[in-house]
């Protein structure tokens, strides 16, 4: 098979993947579940956005009301994220992860457990890489910097910034790949389902 043919096949599968994505999210229950997942993930990512500062506040001696305030303020941070490219990348990561989870549930519920597991592993790697890449590397805040400091000393922050960007690109690529892959399977499942429903009605 020539390169052109392979490219055409990949393009067609991606196109069908997008159709499948549309079919899943045209169903209200999956659309609502997807939005719920996006908000939940955006919350988790915003909580850890600048390292473990929020976690340190939760573990501090603050009264319960103030700790709830810390948890509540994370919701404000989600909205404030739209003010910078860095923040928008976090929101995009949350959207992609939310979509993957909703698609995984759809695929799993339609008895395509192997495909769902494949998607879960690829999407899971993407999600975790995105999480590790969080933080403000220019300040050395984040999960990567401390361990890199032990290995690379003063150059750790610059290294963390580069690795963080590579991890972010990898995370986006893996999540988009998973969405299109699962979308293709969902397209097939939804089409088969539609035919079954039509067939049942005609009988």
């Amino acid at each position: 098979m020539g390169i052109r043919k392979v490219a055409e096949t990949i393009f067609d599968r991606a196109k069908l993947g997008l159709f499948g994505f549309g079919k899943v999210f045209s169903r209200p229950k999956y659309a609502i579940f997807g939005i719920f997942c996006i908000i939940l993930i955006a919350y988790i990512l915003s909580f850890w956005q600048n390292g473990n500062g929020n976690w340190q506040l939760i573990c501090s001696g603050l009264p319960l009301g103030d700790k709830l305030g810390v948890l509540g303020r994370v919701f404000l941070n989600i909205g404030e994220n739209f003010t910078s490219l860095w923040g928008i990348s976090i929101i995009l990561l949350a959207i992609l992860q939310g979509i993957v989870i909703a698609q995984l549930v759809f695929t799993w519920r339609h008895r395509e457990k192997n495909a769902a597991l494949d998607g879960a592993s690829t999407g899971g790697i993407g999600a975790i890489l995105g999480f590790i890449a969080l933080g403000c590397p220019s300040c050395g805040i984040g999960l990567l910097t401390p361990i890199l400091s032990a290995i690379a000393g003063a150059s750790a922050v610059a290294m963390a910034e580069t690795i963080g960007k590579i991890f972010t690109i990898l995370a986006f690529s893996l999540l988009i790949f998973t969405i299109l892959g699962l979308g293709y399977i969902d397209y097939v499942l939804a089409s088969v389902n539609n035919r079954k429903e039509k067939h049942a009605k005609s009988n």
């Binding site: 600048n50 473990n52 500062g53 501090s60 003010t83 910078s84 860095w86 592993s121």
Partner: protein
């Protein structure tokens, strides 16, 4: 085979995440209770009940965000915490971001800060420099996060011109900055800070037994002073 590779990769990535979290928890920075430079502290060094230390680099955007939030509410903050709670607040200025190749401006800014401290005008200089940087760069989204445009390398005059309204010996200050007279102090303190930080980033806060990294999730400044108060109260209430 493909499935095994995929599961192996997932396990490796989860292992990396868990390893990073465990490493960060098991390696807390060591406490250091002495005041490094009295001119860079607020409060009574002899009688203070609490010691609040901030490790910073003037070209660390989130360090500046914290300090700008205090500068905007300075009287109230000093009354509530320095006076009423008897807190000794100390800033430990480093040029960590110069050493790690992130910003060449960190070094002259650090030198100038210690030069101002020599004349006991650190706080006037620090807040004037942060205000100028906010006006010139941070308010325009420059130098605020990993994806934003970097602040260009600035001439020494940027760091001396900022001090023109401060009542101190201008010539002596300019000479100190131009001749890098405080470089050895900056170097010594940065080396000590790197040891104390033990891999944590900046801003890094040590408030008695409470340790905190970073500051307010993103560049929106609306809730910054609330975050400062939460941090201060967490320090006061952690035994």
């Amino acid at each position: 085979m493909q499935k095994a590779i995929r599961i192996g990769a997932l396990v490796a990535v989860i292992g990396l995440l868990v390893g990073l979290v465990v490493y960060n928890i098991l390696n807390p920075p060591a406490p250091d209770n002495s005041v490094w430079n009295a001119a860079m502290s607020k409060g009574d060094t002899e009688t203070a009940k609490h010691h609040f230390v901030m490790y910073t680099d003037i070209f660390c955007p989130y360090c500046d965000k914290f300090s700008n939030a205090i500068a905007a509410n300075l009287d109230k903050w000093e009354k509530d915490y320095i006076e009423r709670e008897n807190v000794l607040f100390e800033i430990r200025v480093t040029d960590i971001n110069y050493r790690n190749g992130h910003s060449n401006n960190s070094r002259p800014a650090g030198i100038a800060a210690y030069c101002a401290a020599r004349q006991n005008k650190f706080w006037d200089y620090y807040y004037a420099l942060l205000a100028q940087m906010f006006e010139d760069y941070h308010s325009k989204g420059i130098g605020v996060d990993p994806y934003s445009q970097h602040i260009p390398d600035l001439p020494n005059s940027y760091f001396t011109d900022v001090a023109k309204d401060i009542e101190f010996d201008q010539d002596s200050f300019k000479q100190c900055v131009d001749n890098q007279e405080t470089l050895s102090e900056l170097n010594k303190n940065t080396a000590k800070a790197e040891k104390n930080l033990n891999g944590s980033g900046i801003p890094h806060f040590v408030f008695d037994k409470f340790v905190y990294d970073g500051f307010a999730g993103n560049w929106d400044t609306t809730h910054d002073y609330e975050q400062v108060k939460t941090l201060m109260n967490a320090g006061l209430s952690t035994k």
